[in-house]
Amino acid sequence: MSLTALIADDEAPLRAQLRARLNEAWPELRVVAEAANGAEAVALAAEHQPDIVFLDIRMPGMGGIDAARQLYDRCHIVFATAYDQYALDAFEQGAIDYLLKPVTPARLQTTCERLQKRLAGNAAAPQDIGAQLAELGALLKSGGAAKPNYLRWIQAQVGGSLRMVSTREILFFQAEDKYTSVQTASTQLLIRKTLKELTDELDPDEFWRIHRSTLVRVDAILEVTRDMRGRQMVRLRDHPDLLEVSRNHGYLFQQM
């Protein structure tokens, strides 16, 4: 019985290359299918039951890590990646096989030998790499740092189109009658989201509620002064408006 393999990579030329290299390094291995994304790889693997699956990490739709999590108990996984510092670190520490693109014949030879040993020695049950994969998936998604899912873009209807305003561009939000106004250095837009909703969805380290009707971006604050009536007023870096700080929120600036 000859061994079979599946190759998944979104770039066709690279699939062809790996197939050609595999043919040289391990002629007995039969490549039974090629997939262009993770979902396709999972479907084709179910159909063809390959012994080995070569997975590119970054693919459209479902990526390689997610595909691997559905496949690792049925076949041996080898990842292929061009440059993913987080993944490489994880691979070095863990027991997951990987190839660096462009794939060199020597490196592929080593990987093939290791796979052959594993398959022959029937160290068969591929080890449980599930936990490791889950960790890796989370790591890659967040770009290295785990940060909760805060709102980073505000959508505002302007004429017929939907304006996207990055939160980094926003100086402050202010509650108007039926709307909330969004102030940037250059424009003011109106949105339907209430200040309450915004306060809940935005990063609390990025935006501070300083008043019942005002939410201000911390980085945009230049200084806090007191006016003649003793109220705290926030002065902004790129905007002439002074924003009042209500008494309940005065504690925000106690230390400043």
């Binding site: 979104d10 770039e11 030329p13 739709g61 873009w153 990055s166 980094r168």
Partner: protein, 297 residues
Amino acid sequence: MAAASINRALDFVREAVNEASVLWWRFFDWLALVEWRQLYVTWFLVVVFGVIVDLVNPAIWFILISFGVKVLAGGKRRAELKAKEASDKASVATLERRLMEAQMATLQAQVEPHFLFNTLALIGQLIETDPKEAARVHAHLIEYLRSSLPQMRAGGGGGTLGKQVELSRAYLAIMQARMKERLAVRFDVPDFLGSAPFPPMMLQTLIENAIKHGLEPKVAGGTITVRSQVVGATLHVDVCDDGVGIDLHADEGVGLANIRERLALLYGKDAELVIEMPPGGGACASIRLPYRMTEFD
């Protein structure tokens, strides 16, 4: 309602006080800076005027007060104003430094390693299977690197829209060789706009974003449209894709922030970066800045 009218009165008083204090300090500054000779002439005129309208007392008071202020506080105020002028100069220097830093950041963030490794892998593969295509991609890569690597950019100019479009074509040609039928490209840039000044690496960043966040995650791929037009006195350069659109919870990234920062430093409020999600899906990024036909220098 009583409270409201009191508030209104308070507001009025506050404004009046503000206005008076502004006037007083303007007078103060004038006194501090004015030459004695000019002050004598003013006193003379004030006395003449005072005699004519029979208000000699206020005229004398004015002379006494202005003399006192000039002698006692003039020097200090003059020093303050000098200091302010110096700090204005310093803040211009700060602006220049921020621009430099923003430009440095752009230069350093130029070539993404992921892109470079993938392209080299592609060329390696093509050498074996399709040497002609390999040579073509290789030439595009060289063209792209020539204009985007910091060391090589120094003498290259590259500050026109034409140059930026050329660079983007090279980049997109490489991406097309990699993504094949998943990437279609449309350029809609009139030739006459080629000479218009345009900051380097902005168009490039928008296109990279469109591919990375819009089309690469989309299984079927899509089209990137680069469009340029003059609207009134403003040059619009748009990059649109029909990809997956913008993830509301994804940070805008250093690329867009850097463009915004550089636009603000170069053009102040006259330029902007507008991001939109068109009704048909995908995303559109538009750089808008004052249109000039050629570089002045």
